[in-house]
């Protein structure tokens, strides 16, 4: 027989071990470009325990959200690195036409002259088309990106007439992480192109994981886990002494 106390404590242990998983994931991504830390959220879930009286009693449920604060912009001096100082996103498209949001700006130029990320996904321009920074076969040295996203030929200083697109969605909470610094919009919200002056060439956005706060969170989780486990054990002992007292 499971008592309510046991059900509540077990749900709490589940919550804590999932929190530990999220903290482990954050710590593993201390050096990942533009990583957004995952934040565990405890939520009261009303309908998980049905006792003998069909009463609904609260247990704890685990939820997770992204912490969207901007990571430090680390200057690298590298022409192919761009970072966003605003809360918006770049968009990339894979070979099958799927669209992703990303804040990571480690740009590559592929052999066809398209601007890609490290998996070869194409960055989009401000019209939502794949951004080609130079024609195929043309091998000019490189390009500069103005704070507004305009792509300028680094040799001549002439604008190529193309602009790196910066996008905004209504609710970022609906963005689901897809790994590799990318997010998918599960809610299929409308996306707007925002005029911006927040693009910083020669910078990379670091992960927004703060080592100290993660260590503190880990400590809290660890101690809570110990405490909860101790109470769970005591509840079990209480029950067994009940049973033995009645059986006598």
């Amino acid at each position: 027989m499971t008592t309510y106390a046991e059900a509540a404590l077990v749900s709490s242990l589940n919550y804590l071990s999932q929190s530990q998983q999220a903290i482990a994931h954050n710590l593993a991504n201390i050096s990942s470009t533009a990583f957004k830390r995952r934040q565990p959220i405890a939520e009261e879930s009303p309908s998980r325990f049905h006792g003998m009286l069909r009463e609904q009693l609260p247990t704890v449920k685990y939820r997770e959200a992204a912490d969207w604060s901007i990571g430090n912009l680390v200057p690298t001096g590298e022409r192919n690195h761009v970072a966003l100082e605003s809360q918006d996103f770049f968009r990339v498209r894979d070979g099958e036409g799927n669209l992703f949001f990303t804040r990571s700006g480690e740009l590559q130029v592929d052999a066809q002259g398209y601007l890609t990320d490290e998996s070869g996904f194409h960055y989009l321009d401000n019209a939502g088309a794949d951004l080609q920074v130079r024609a195929e076969g043309d091998s000019s040295t490189g390009f500069s990106v103005t704070p507004g996203g305009e792509i300028v030929d680094a040799d001549t200083g002439v604008s190529t007439g193309r602009t790196l697109g910066v996008f905004r969605v209504g609710s970022r909470e609906a963005l689901q992480p897809a790994g590799r610094g990318r997010f998918v919009d599960t809610a299929k919200q409308d996306v707007v192109v925002v005029p911006t002056t927040a693009i910083r060439q020669g910078n990379v956005e670091a992960s927004n994981v703060q080592t100290v706060s993660e260590m503190v969170n880990m400590l809290v989780v660890q101690r809570s886990f110990q405490a909860t486990a101790t109470i769970l054990r005591n509840v079990g002992q209480l029950q067994s002494s009940f049973v033995s007292a009645l059986a006598r």
């Binding site: 998983q21 991504n29 592929d110 130079r134 689901q176 897809a178 790994g179 590799r180």
Partner: protein, 264 residues
């Protein structure tokens, strides 16, 4: 928690790769024409337990956030940083530094073309210009055995005087440089040699100083672009991150043992 052990292990592995790359950079601090590598990391795939917006509570309100468990970090790529290194005067006529963009093109032993920025050139027994590894510079340049003075100008013209005819300057050949759409896509073969790939695109060879290519500087050698101070700072960062991840493993392990001790 078993999962979090593996998650942190991916983090430690990522930091290990970072230390390996830094070690390679530091080891090549005096390698002519060496370009430092930089690693970047990305988050690994997520397991979606609950999709945001799908689950509804008792009142029919969709939950705004879901549950997605991440599984750590992985290496997303190492890229070479092609900034020009410091040029150092050597006063050796066959030392060439490239000021700006471009690579020397060499013939590899397997018949393919290799590319290098190491301009510490030599003459082989047939009088051809070769790299210190012996690969022949393309297009081939033959310098007569009795050459007494070799001069290479910024546009790559190799000329000089010979002992047989000391009163006139003769042109021995024309050096060319090659450049790529995406030099980060070149494959490093070691021995300062790079090779073209589909990612780098084909080389476009031309005379130095034309088409955006850099110019040549005789009597100079391009040093490595590794900056030791930056590398050491990166080393400290990587080491601390490694430590933090190992602490997370300890914590997960302790939680596991706490869970086991519930049953006595």
């Amino acid at each position: 928690m078993i999962k979090s052990l593996y998650t942190t292990a991916t983090g430690m592995k990522a930091q290990q790769t970072m230390v390996d790359t830094i070690a390679n950079n530091i080891a090549n601090v005096n390698t002519a024409g060496f370009k430092r590598s930089q690693v970047s990391f990305e988050d690994l795939l997520y397991v979606t337990l609950k999709t945001p917006g799908l689950e509804r509570d008792a009142g029919g309100v969709a939950s705004p956030i879901g549950v997605q468990i991440g599984s750590g970090a992985q290496l997303s790529g190492t890229s070479k940083i092609y900034t020009t290194g410091v040029l150092e005067a050597t006063n050796r006529p066959l030392d060439l530094a490239i000021e700006g963009d471009g690579f020397f093109q060499v013939r590899l032993p397997d018949g393919g073309n290799g590319f290098t920025r190491d301009g510490h050139l030599q003459r082989n027994s047939e009088g051809r210009l070769v790299t210190s590894g012996g690969e022949v510079i393309q297009p081939e340049i033959n310098i007569p055995n009795d050459a007494i003075e070799i001069s290479i100008d910024a546009e790559g013209r190799v000329s000089g005087r010979t002992a047989g005819n000391p009163d006139t300057t003769a042109t021995f050949g024309q050096l060319q440089l090659a450049r790529f759409v995406n030099p980060s896509g070149l494959l490093a073969l070691g021995g300062n040699i790079l090779r073209q790939t589909d990612a780098s695109g084909p080389p476009t060879p031309n005379n130095p100083g034309s088409n955006g290519l850099g110019t040549l500087k005789q009597n100079f050698i391009e040093r490595s672009n590794v900056e030791i101070v930056n590398e050491l700072v990166n080393l400290i960062v990587a080491q601390r991150a490694y430590e933090v991840n190992s602490r997370a493993i300890q914590a997960s392990d302790q939680m596991l043992s706490t869970a086991t001790s519930v049953i006595r």
